[in-house]
Amino acid sequence: MKLGILYSGGKDSNLAALIAKKEGYNLSCLISIASENKESFMFHTPSISKVTAQAKAMQIPLILQKTKGEKEIELIDLKKAIKKAKKEYKIQGVVTGAVESVYQASRVQKICNELGLECFNPLWQKNQMEILEDLIKEKLGVIVIAVAAYPLGQKFLGKKINEKFIEEMKKLKEKYQINPAGEGGEYETFVINSPLFKKSLKIKSFKDFGENHSWKRELEI
């Protein structure tokens, strides 16, 4: 079955894509939404333009759809992008990295249903610690590119997801109720390497923006 991956460039969409590939599905294209609204509930925003480098590394075509990011209008733009993927790459289903967000998952389900496509959510309801462990087990190179929760700050940007990171998240969960995989929007990630990448990405430089406990890192790949 030909699938389109709803792709943010972060850990969840990359892990979901890898699971789909391992189960024998054909990853026909990536579908990314570049939202101008930095507070979007639907889409991951930091370094989203860098998905072009990730798509190139995977040698998978990319549909990059821009949106102003106004609440329901961004869903029209998402539908437009999925429709394009169906027409151009003959996809029969869409894969998402949704874990717990009913808001995101049900909106994608509705769009897929309207377009007659299957909707796959291989990380749905998955334990957040297990997601972090799977990233290490599956050899995904993941770094933090945004934070938005106390006590996280600029120092947290650039951290790699590894055993040490998991230990740190366990403590943060215990002390501050931080969701270990950032499911509550506490942090966002960017994938620089994956078994799906033909070669890993190199970060040339970066710029940090923010204050206090809200920071974003824009990468130059």
Partner: protein, 185 residues
Amino acid sequence: MEKGVGNMILIISTNKELLHHYEFSKPIEELVKKENQAFATKKYDKLISKDLEKATKIIICGTSLKDLEYAKHLEKFNWIKKFDKPIFGICAGAQIIARIFGTTLKDSTKIGLEKVIFKKEFLNIKKELQVYHLHQKKISSLKNPLENYSKDNEAFKHKTKQIYATLFHPEVRNSQIISNFIKNG
């Protein structure tokens, strides 16, 4: 796959696509593990009588909106009528139970969170709950021996047997319903 020892919960997958296992069966496996219960997961068309004999309880999982393959093979579920141990049917599983006992379904798509009002206590759940729906069919009127436990027939039970069913997905936001079934159902 088979995990653990002792009492054994049989998880029946209704998914045509392998990738849907992660979304509809795996979360149920995780809930069973949390309750320290042994389990085995099998696809409905691979079941043999030994699987049913070994099981102490059965959970029939849901599947995707577009997956109606299981509905073409309802005869594979005829064992439900004679089965005397507890069963829980989720979404597609609930639709299967309804149809096996003679209830017909109507087209009606529901996606997302919505409130369900319980008319009777259902696996320790009373009054109302915000639940996650992902289904294409609804039940307009349940046929005997099934009995309605909520408004809109979203939760129902067999009148005399421990056969429970929900059209909604309790594994999302309401996992205590499945835990209650595992512990007390």
